[in-house]
């Protein structure tokens, strides 16, 4: 449904995307993972036909994204990463403007989405909070029931409840056979919704894998609080990968060896266990480690 082939686009700064090739079959939810500045939005700009590529092509439904965007957009719902609306409009005016531009008569779906995300559409967009604007952007991307969604960091700015509603919405759309490309710098967000994910690093795609093997490659850091120094010694002896160690706390990095981890902890007087938040690079050291291309 979405095909990217040898796509290269370099900015003056030397950043950009280089030789990207991937394709997303119809009905798949594809995660596009990378830290900030890795080239996620650059790829999406290409798919939206905003920028000219140096080399390579991208197509949606077999139509060229740059030259046939008019046709492509009939089947496309887009959520920009940096959202800029028409500030002088109210939420309601904006949605009905888009509806007119897309030539849709019925606003039943739009109305349902507004209720679902509990968005107040009467204030001017200028006066809306970041969360409200994000909700409005989600509704704008989904209101015309397109076959393909391109979502750039869709759940940023949504509170946990709204993120949950959003994840449900993605699951529903997937059941209805929609194709989704969703970028994120947060693995949890991708994990909850996607079938496969591509990992982008410095403009190059370093891996495209299904979500289960990514989960297996995921590394977590646990912060263990124990009763005393002798417990720390136990853990040191357990052959685990350790991070920072203090008097009664130790960071343990766990990839797939949960069994050894639990067994070692079983010998200790554990007083606390926390999962530390991590950046994408830390989660996927395998793909982001030095020298990996």
């Amino acid at each position: 449904m979405i095909d990217v082939k040898d796509l290269t686009m370099t900015y003056k700064s030397g950043k950009g995307v280089f030789d990207l090739t991937f394709s997303i079959p119809e009905g798949e939810v594809f995660g596009y993972l990378g830290p900030n500045g890795a080239g996620k939005t650059t790829t999406i700009r290409q798919l939206m036909g905003f920028t000219n590529a140096d080399k390579g092509t991208c197509t949606i439904k077999g139509l060229d994204c740059r030259t046939q965007s008019q046709e492509v957009n009939k089947h496309l719902g887009y959520l920009p990463g940096e959202i800029a609306f028409f500030d002088e409009m109210t939420g309601k005016q904006f949605l009905s403007f888009l509806q007119e531009m897309r030539g849709i008569r019925s606003n039943a779906r739009t109305q349902k989405l507004i209720e679902r995300f509990d968005l107040e559409v009467t204030p001017r967009i200028k006066r809306m909070s970041k969360g409200m604007k994000q909700k409005l952007a989600v509704i704008a991307a989904f209101m015309h029931d397109p076959a393909v969604y391109i979502l750039d960091e869709p759940s940023s700015g949504l509170d946990p409840l709204m993120q949950h509603i959003f994840v449900d919405l993605i699951h529903e759309e997937k059941k209805r056979g929609k194709t989704v490309l969703m970028s994120s710098h947060n693995f949890e967000e991708i994990e909850r919704t996607c079938d496969r994910a591509g990992i982008i690093r410095e403009g190059r795609l370093v891996a495209v894998e299904d979500i289960n093997s990514l989960k297996a490659a995921q590394r977590r850091v646990f912060l263990i609080t124990v009763a005393g120094p002798e417990d720390i010694d136990h853990i040191r002896a357990g052959g685990l990968e350790l991070g920072k160690v203090t008097n009664n706390q130790v960071e343990v990095v766990v990839g797939s060896d949960y069994d050894a981890f639990i067994k070692t902890l079983g010998k200790c007087r554990v007083q606390g266990l926390d999962v530390l938040p991590q950046s994408l690079e830390q989660v996927f050291l395998k793909y982001y480690g030095q020298g990996v291309h």
């Binding site: 905003f50 920009p80 800029a84 897309r102």
Partner: protein, 265 residues
């Protein structure tokens, strides 16, 4: 041309047009009340007390004898080009560059319409807005003259004057529109889109002073527009054709450039 977009552009920009229309109308009525066929001589005498260079810079030089030349001298030589010029600068920048700079262009381009359609619609708005502003002012001048000084306005020359000022301002609007289309930042689109017309305008004022500075007239588009000559029966077809050519070239250039370039959205 996309009708919903045109409508929304109108909704976002009509107020600016109305403000300029109101200001221009106010000046028009003030200037018209100053016209007195019997005392033109005294007005001319009063002008002679002012420095000749200042009078020339404002374009007030011709001998004023009738209502059409009066309007050509006191209104169409200065006010009727300065205000529409500012209108073009502001509006052209809002139509394209502002949407690109803020990012709202992304929403326009994600609708099922080609870039060509989107940008052409914006261009048509500017053409219509600029022309309407001057047409409405022209009509107001007709109506006020008919009411205040029945039978005194020479209709033919006045129509020609209006036609020429519209062509001139369309060319200026084209320059503004072109720069609005080609830059990513409103900073640059405004610097050039406003800078060039304003520079033309200032050069024109300097050139009219005459003497050492008259060679400057070759550097500005405004030289081709001489209201006093038009009402005196000297309608320059060459000027009209050049204005039309500049209009077409700048609008088409802006549209084509916008259609091809990479946008920072």
């Amino acid at each position: 041309m996309n009708f919903p977009l045109f409508k929304s552009t109108l909704r976002a920009n009509w107020i600016i047009g109305i403000i300029f229309l109101a200001i221009m109308f106010m000046y028009l009525s003030i200037i018209l009340t100053m016209f007195d066929p019997d005392s033109m001589e005294s007005l001319n005498q009063m002008l002679e007390t002012l420095p000749a260079e200042l009078i020339s810079a404002m374009g007030f030089d011709a001998l004023i004898t009738d209502l059409a030349s009066f309007l050509a001298g006191y209104y169409y030589g200065f006010l009727a080009i300065m205000f529409p010029m500012i209108y073009c600068i502001i509006t052209a920048n809002r139509l394209v560059a502002k949407h690109v700079d803020s990012g709202s262009m992304a929403y326009l381009l994600s609708t099922p319409h080609s870039r060509l359609t989107i940008v052409t619609t914006q261009a048509l708005y500017l053409v219509a807005g600029t022309a309407d502003l001057l047409i409405l002012i022209g009509l107001a001048a007709f109506a006020l003259s008919a009411g205040m000084y029945p039978g005194q306005l020479a209709v033919g020359p006045f129509l020609q004057l209006n036609l020429m000022v519209i062509l001139l301002m369309l060319a200026i609007s084209g320059i503004c529109f072109f720069f609005s289309c080609i830059f990513n930042d409103t900073k640059y689109s405004l610097a050039l889109g406003a800078g060039i017309p304003v520079l033309f305008f200032l050069i024109d004022m300097l050139a009219k002073v005459g003497g050492n500075t008259s060679w400057l007239k070759n550097l500005t588009l405004f030289t081709l527009y001489n209201p006093a000559k038009i009402v005196a029966g000297d309608f320059s077809l060459t000027s009209a054709v050049i204005f039309l050519a500049v209009t077409i070239a700048t609008y088409l250039g802006g549209i084509m450039f916008f259609n091809r370039r990479s946008l920072p959205l």
